[in-house]
């Protein structure tokens, strides 16, 4: 599959007509699995209601990813590595953005309609929202400080790739990829708990 995708990306970059659709067809199944997995993860963490409104199905997420890829015109990924990172990050962003938006809307609605809203419930929303913001910020910071480790993390957790595939894509050894992942995990844990 990986060789197929590489070839499709090369053809797309060369401007072959229909190569974009070919790429979409090739990654279709992979994207659906990835989107479904990420949807469950976000629903698990932030509650089903956080993603129920707009991005309510795997189909909708995959469609959104395609729109984002369409808008990028293939500029950003000259090879497979950039492509996978971009796809993985996009799916995660779509879901977290949606969850964030919904949490903000709910909070806003409560503030405007219920004067006597309990302190506890409003705190729950802001805490959730804060957690997401913290994760997003921590990932951004890690990308600036430890780009390779951040990429390994994105490929593993948002891209659903195996350690072997990550090491192939980033052109590093399997043990380096494992070390990168372990480092990224503890770095994030430390950052988020402090």
């Amino acid at each position: 599959m990986q060789q197929n995708i590489t070839q499709a990306i090369v053809d797309w970059a060369e401007g072959n007509s229909q190569s974009q659709e070919n790429l979409y067809v090739l990654i279709y199944d992979h994207l659906r699995k990835l989107a479904s997995k990420q949807r469950l993860k976000v629903a698990d963490k932030f509650g089903q209601s956080s993603i129920e409104e707009h991005i309510n199905s795997t189909t909708a997420i995959v469609h959104e990813v395609y729109i984002k890829l369409e808008n990028s015109n293939g500029e950003y990924f000259r090879h497979r590595k950039e492509f996978f990172i971009m796809v993985a990050r996009t799916i995660h962003n779509i879901l977290v953005d949606q969850a964030r938006k919904n949490a903000a809307q709910k909070r806003q609605a409560e503030l405007t309609t219920l004067d006597d809203v309990g302190e506890e419930s409003s705190f729950e929303f802001s805490e959730q929202d804060q957690k997401m913001l913290d994760l997003g910020n921590a990932l951004q910071q890690m990308e600036a400080e430890y780009p390779r480790q951040a990429q390994s993390m994105q490929l593993k957790y948002f891209g659903g790739l195996l350690v072997k595939e990550i090491s192939d894509i980033l052109a590093i050894s399997t043990s380096s990829a494992e070390k990168d992942l372990a480092f990224a995990k503890s770095w994030l844990k430390l950052r988020l708990s402090s």
């Binding site: 599959m1 060789q3 197929n4 995708i5 070839q7 499709a8 053809d11 659709e21 070919n22 979409y24 067809v25 090739l26 279709y28 199944d29 992979h30 199905s57 189909t59 909708a60 995959v62 469609h63 395609y66 729109i67 369409e70």
Partner: protein, 107 residues
């Protein structure tokens, strides 16, 4: 024989595609009237657009893979894939999208 190829929901509409293995045509349902897409007995790639509402049109694509008895049926919104399913043209049996290779798409 008519078999269900794909179904999904989009903006509150239930979208469904059936494959007629006898006439090798696609039948698409969204609102009341079905849209029929003839494929020249499964040999010709083509598409039709169904207007669902004032601001929503769905394209129903039939793409035959060269030299294979496999075709991909796709629903697109503004040219972007919404849902896709590969089928065996003669029987209408579903084929996994992940089994499709780049060579099949390009040769």
């Amino acid at each position: 024989m008519k078999s269900l190829i794909l179904s999904t929901k989009y903006q509150g509409y239930s979208l469904t595609c059936y494959w007629h293995s006898l006439t090798k045509s696609v039948e698409f349902y969204a609102v009341n009237t079905p849209l029929k897409l003839h494929t020249g007995f499964g040999f010709i790639s083509r598409f039709k657009t169904a207007k669902i509402s004032d601001d929503l049109s769905i394209e129903v694509h039939f793409r035959k893979l060269n030299r294979d008895k496999i075709a991909i049926i796709m629903l697109k919104v503004e040219g972007i894939i919404l849902k896709a399913q590969a089928i065996e043209v003669s029987t209408g049996e579903k084929v996994s999208m992940s089994s499709i290779t780049y060579q099949q798409l390009t040769r």
